[in-house]
């Protein structure tokens, strides 16, 4: 009892000390992966984060009399993480879009950005966004650029960071990439394989995001933004990072003159509000991709699984060894890692498949390992007498296998195969990791854009069930048909 009291006292003391002697903190969230020049890991010192926004937040916090504390997070879940109070403000080149305005509060703007279209150096087909009509274009999900592409009906692939997008452009998985100029300047401008297509276009604002009810903090942040603009701190930071330009001069002039800053509304040209019909259409497209990947990988798994099973079962020692290595490799490593390897690793040796094909092949190779074990167990379950009966009727090994052993093994294998294929349907969601627009990606991106996690979650689950339930039902019918053959007599007699 005494120790508990003592412990409580110590804890209380600790907290009092923290709030009295320490400063108040400003916890800010951003995605540091591929986050240059906003906020990213210092290449010279991996324990440290650097970036112009990092320096800006430090300056803001100082102006607010607070201590800045960085909370690394995911770009796509920044808004929901803010609402869950993982941090108090989002500072990550956030654009004040209409759908975000329904979920969070915006500070005053602090930066004017433009967009830059990038293509491969040898590609002269695309010179502006108007040339992108039937091309595939990559960009960061949930940004001004992604909305612009949606508005114009240009097929868009959402990425979680610019590094992956520009690499896919190099590998010809994309025809063009659009990013905010700061990111483009850092990741693409010095790449000899890429070039800017046309001049920067569109103007947009970066603001700081806050929770809806956090008006007090918003007032504090707004005042601090004004302060670092007026005293030139922000200008110094932007100049240091090569981000100072005419647009900033134009934007900061009225504030420095003591007038009102630019209105958010003046820059809302990239607003897209959430639209259920559009969302369902995009989910349907995602479902089609999911079905394509699932069915395609099933075909690979079923056809490749059989030679693997037979090789491991009856093959010579070297073949058995090879098959075992294959099976243990694909069963023993995560399918996610396998997909990342196929997608990012294989291009090194000149094999660059598009994302959906990578997912299809990767899942197929992975599930072939599982199927081979189901087949092998089923084949081994067939009594040796069946082989001998077939041989003594003059059948060769191949004929006996095809006509006598395989059909019997198939019956045994059917229930576990069904099981695997239902789980394969769900496993297509790992294709999210390589930016394939399938159901899980669709859910994450649409829900993050709209905040409709619950309703969209129900819709996406319904899509998955609509695909897996009929398949399970079909398999049950087939099983019953096969079983009925053996028991029909029993039923006849029972009926009689």
């Amino acid at each position: 009892m005494l120790t508990v009291q003592r412990l409580t006292a110590i804890l209380l003391l600790f907290f009092c000390y923290g709030s009295v002697a320490g400063q108040r903190v400003l916890r800010w969230g951003a995605d540091p992966s591929g986050g240059a020049p906003y906020v990213f890991t210092d290449p010279a010192n991996p324990d440290r984060y650097i970036g112009y926004e990092k320096e800006m937040v430090d300056a803001l916090a100082q102006a607010m009399g607070r201590q800045a504390e960085f909370v690394p997070s995911d770009w796509e879940t920044l808004v929901s993480a803010l609402q869950r109070k993982s941090f108090d403000v989002i500072v990550n080149g956030l654009e004040p879009t209409g759908d975000r305005a329904q979920q969070i509060l915006f500070s005053k703007p602090y930066y004017i950005f433009q967009l830059q279209l990038t293509v491969r150096r040898d590609d002269n087909r695309i010179n502006s966004i108007d040339d992108c009509k039937n091309r595939s274009v990559g960009t960061l999900a949930n940004t001004a650029a992604s909305r612009l592409l949606e508005q114009r009906g240009i097929p868009m692939r959402g990425y979680a960071d610019p590094v992956a997008a520009y690499r896919d452009l190099e590998l010809k998985r994309l025809d063009a990439v659009i990013f905010d100029v700061p990111a483009e300047a850092f990741y693409a401008r010095n790449n000899p394989k890429l070039k800017p297509a046309g001049a920067p276009f569109t103007r947009g604002l970066y603001v700081i995001g806050l929770r809806k009810d956090d008006d007090a903090l918003k007032a504090e942040v707004d005042a601090a933004i004004d302060k670092i603009i007026v005293d030139g701190t922000l200008e110094t930071i932007l100049k240091k990072w090569g981000l100072w330009n005419d647009a900033q001069v134009e934007f900061q002039a009225p504030i420095r003159a003591g007038k009102e800053s630019a209105k958010v509304e003046e820059y809302t040209n990239t607003n897209v509000t959430f639209n259920w019909r559009e969302a369902l259409w995009r989910l349907t497209r995602a479902a089609a991709v999911t079905v394509l990947i699932a069915l395609g990988s099933m075909v690979i798994a079923v056809t490749l699984g059989l030679p693997l099973a037979v090789g491991q079962w009856k093959g010579p020692a070297w073949l058995r060894g090879l098959c075992t290595i294959y099976v243990e490799f694909f069963r023993g490593t995560p399918v996610l890692v396998q997909l990342l390897f196929l997608y990012f690793g294989l291009p090194v040796i000149g094999i660059a498949m598009p994302g959906w094909l990578t997912a299809l092949v990767g899942l197929g190779l992975n599930y072939a390992a599982y199927e081979s074990q189901v087949y092998r167990a089923s084949l081994e379950a067939i009594p040796n007498g069946q082989w001998e009966a077939a041989y003594s009727l003059g059948m060769g090994p191949l004929l006996a296998f095809r006509r006598i052993i395989l059909p019997q093994a198939f019956r045994i294998a059917l229930p576990p195969m069904t099981n695997d294929f239902v789980s394969l349907f769900k496993d297509t969601s790992v294709a999210y990791a390589i930016s394939v627009w399938e159901l899980a990606t669709a859910y994450r991106e649409l829900a993050n854009a709209s905040g409709q996690f619950l309703l969209l979650g129900v819709a996406v689950s319904a899509f998955y069930l609509a695909m897996s339930l009929p398949m399970a039902h079909l398999a049950r019918l087939l099983e019953r048909r096969l079983r009925d053959r053996a028991t029909e007599r029993v039923e006849e007699e029972a009926a009689a």
Binding site: G385, A389, S392, R403, Q408, R485, T487, R489, V490
Partner: protein, 246 residues
Amino acid sequence: MIRVTDLRKRFGSNEILKGISFEVPPQTVLGVIGASGSGKSTLLRCLNGLETISGGTVEVESVRLEATLSHSEYRKRVKDLRLKVGTVFQHFYLFPHLSVVGNIIEAPVHVLRTAKKTAETEASELLEAVGMTHAARRYPGSLSGGEQQRVAIARALAMHPALLLLDEPTSALDPRRMHSLRALLRTFVDRGHTMIIISHSMGFLEGVADNILYMESGVAVEFGSTDAVMNSPQDARTKDFLSQAE
């Protein structure tokens, strides 16, 4: 003519068949008897090519299997041998995924390339002969042991073998059915078939076999007409076995 000469079979250093010789004239039945472990099942598996022989020869009509043949030539002749020899296994090994008719026409259609229609006509004739016409479309899982045996006999005969082997055909049968099986086998012999029946039931063989081969420890102890072996066995070991069996 079916002729076995000095047939030997070794598993490692363990010799199971130690030089067996006998002949089976056409349209006769040879009964092979002996205690468990006497080597009679191994003899049957050498005759249908499921075991590779270690010495001697097996001749079934024009096919001559010799232990001294090269591996590829041996395999080729085993293939030919299996077309001449049909087997009814002790546990039948019907194909559970095929109907009764499917079991019977499977090999004729896929091995002999008989037209399916022709094979089906032959199958229904065979089913009638074995008294199983009513079960043509049923599956093996729904048949009794005796019914399965009749289907297995029809399946083996559908390949028109020169020699039919039966392994312990009485193990699944009660005395009444044993009697009807004996009658059935005799009708097939009368139609021109030649058989080797392995059994330890002397009573069953008495009414169906023309000749008897008594085996003990891999050696053919006694060979003669059924009548002679039953009533006046020459070897003391045969006498001993027969007295214990009855």
